[in-house]
Structures are given as structure tokens and as C-alpha cells.
Subunit: 148 residues, 2 copies
């Protein structure tokens, strides 16, 4: 089992603001993909779409307000199905720290290398959204390799 | 054992150019840290410094021209010592794809979350250096959290 881990600190923000950006559809669509549908409530399913690339359906497994969000991938690329994605929030002074984990990958396939870097890019988009009011969600995301 | 994995594609570049940026001191200092010293040859030691934050000493374990670079951390933060960092290059048409691995972490400590995101940031700096002529090495790197 191999995991993707990331950490970003978001300045002048509260865990409450970050939690909103991770749970409200208008928040998610402002840093990950503009095409975000579905219901962000326990047992709801969120649909994230990326044009021709398809996308991911995430079942919301856990919502701890201002603290933690946990999703499980129920549809999408074969390697993602069954994996879990979590965001844990911690306040440190004027900052909110986001600990990100995408766990349950069976093998460190090449696609995992791509997804690891790309999650970093999207978490920086989340940071930017909260710090400046402007994220870079798909389709305006930073492209990182030849197949995007 | 947990690894940090990343992948970036560098447009209009050759594995030879990327290899140079990963081995020549002037290359490394243009995307990772401006304070790069030492000798990039087999069994040589490279010294990367980041101001007050200290830095890393890397022994060069393997150099396969235009294909692969492997370092082992011989001094630096406790969690890094003994870990290995590799860059594997592959040509795909007009692109050079970089597969990055930082392996040998004993535990997924919080510092590993930070380093994972930060490696992504520096690999995007490498990409930018080769695509535009300008990287963002320390101290001009993108700061990602509160302790930088």
C-alpha cells in the first residue's frame, strides 16, 4: 500500500473557511474542477468532471465540521476505485494547515506519480483561492505533463 | 516504507537537457537552491543549502547519462538520512518525462507531507527552468506553509 501525502498552510484563514471550500459545491468548483455536481453530505455522492478526461465520483464518508473530510472513490479510473481521500485541518495561529492523504493505491503505477504531483497543484489552487480569492480549477489548472 | 512520487513532463526538451539540469551545479542551482555546492560525479557529494533551514548532503550513487540520477542523503534532517532520491527520464515525442521518487522514509511523519508537496513545487521549478529559461530556486521558491 502506498499513499499520496501533501501539506499546505493557508495564511489568514480559519479551519471554518477551509472546510467550506472542501465541502460546499461552490468551494470545490473554485479550486478543483468547475464541473462539480452532487451532494456534499454524509453518504452523498460528489461528481467531479474534467472534460474528455472523465472524472471521479466520491462518496462522502465522513464530515467533521472545520476538522476533517473523508471521501471514497466509487467511480472513475480503475486505479482510483476504492481509494480514500482525506483532508485534515489544524489551526496554527493565523494559519490553517491542511494535511491531505490519498490512500489505498494497490500499486505505485505511473498514473500515481502523475496524480501525486497534480494533487499538489490543486492544493496550491485551494491555498490561492482562500488567500487571494482566486483558485485555478480545471480547465484553468496548471498542466503538468504531456497527456493533459 | 512510504515513498514520495512525482511526475512532470517537460515540453520541447531532451533527456540530455534535463539530465544536465539534474547534474550540473549551475543546473541544480537554477531550480532547487541557489546555494548548491560539491561534486556531481559518482561517489561525489552534493551540498544543498537553504539558509537558516540548513540543508542536505547527497552522495551521488548512480549517474546514467540522459536516463537516471540517484542520490543518497548522507547528512541533513534526521528523517532524510539514508533515504534515496531518484530521477528517471523518458523521452516521449517532443517531451521529456521525469519520474521522481524519494524513497526509504521510515514513517509518514508530518515533515514527509510537507516534503512531498515541496518536491512537487521544485519539480515544477525544474520544468519552468527548461521550458522558459527561468526556474524558482530557493530563496525565490513558492512557500507552501507556515514554517517556511
Amino acid at each position: 500500500m502506498v499513499d499520496i501525502l501533501h501539506k499546505v498552510g493557508i495564511k489568514s484563514s480559519s479551519p471554518h473557511d477551509v472546510y467550506k471550500a472542501l465541502t460546499a459545491r461552490e468551494g470545490l468548483s473554485a479550486w478543483w474542477t468547475t464541473n462539480t455536481q452532487g451532494e456534499s453530505k454524509a453518504d452523498g455522492v460528489l461528481l467531479f468532471r474534467f472534460g474528455d478526461r472523465g472524472g471521479f465520483d466520491m462518496k462522502v464518508l465522513e464530515l467533521q465540521p472545520d476538522k476533517r473530510v473523508l471521501w471514497q472513490v466509487v467511480d472513475g479510473p480503475r486505479e482510483w476505485i476504492g481509494t480514500r481521500i482525506s483532508f485534515d485541518l489544524r489551526q496554527e495561529g493565523d494559519w490553517t494547515i491542511v494535511f491531505f492523504k490519498h490512500q489505498g493505491w494497490k500499486e505505485p503505477v505511473e498514473f500515481m506519480y502523475h496524480c501525486s504531483t497534480k494533487w499538489g497543484v490543486f492544493l496550491l489552487s485551494l491555498k490561492s483561492l482562500l488567500e487571494t480569492g482566486k483558485g485555478a480549477p480545471y480547465p484553468d489548472d496548471l498542466k503538468i505533463d504531456s497527456w493533459e
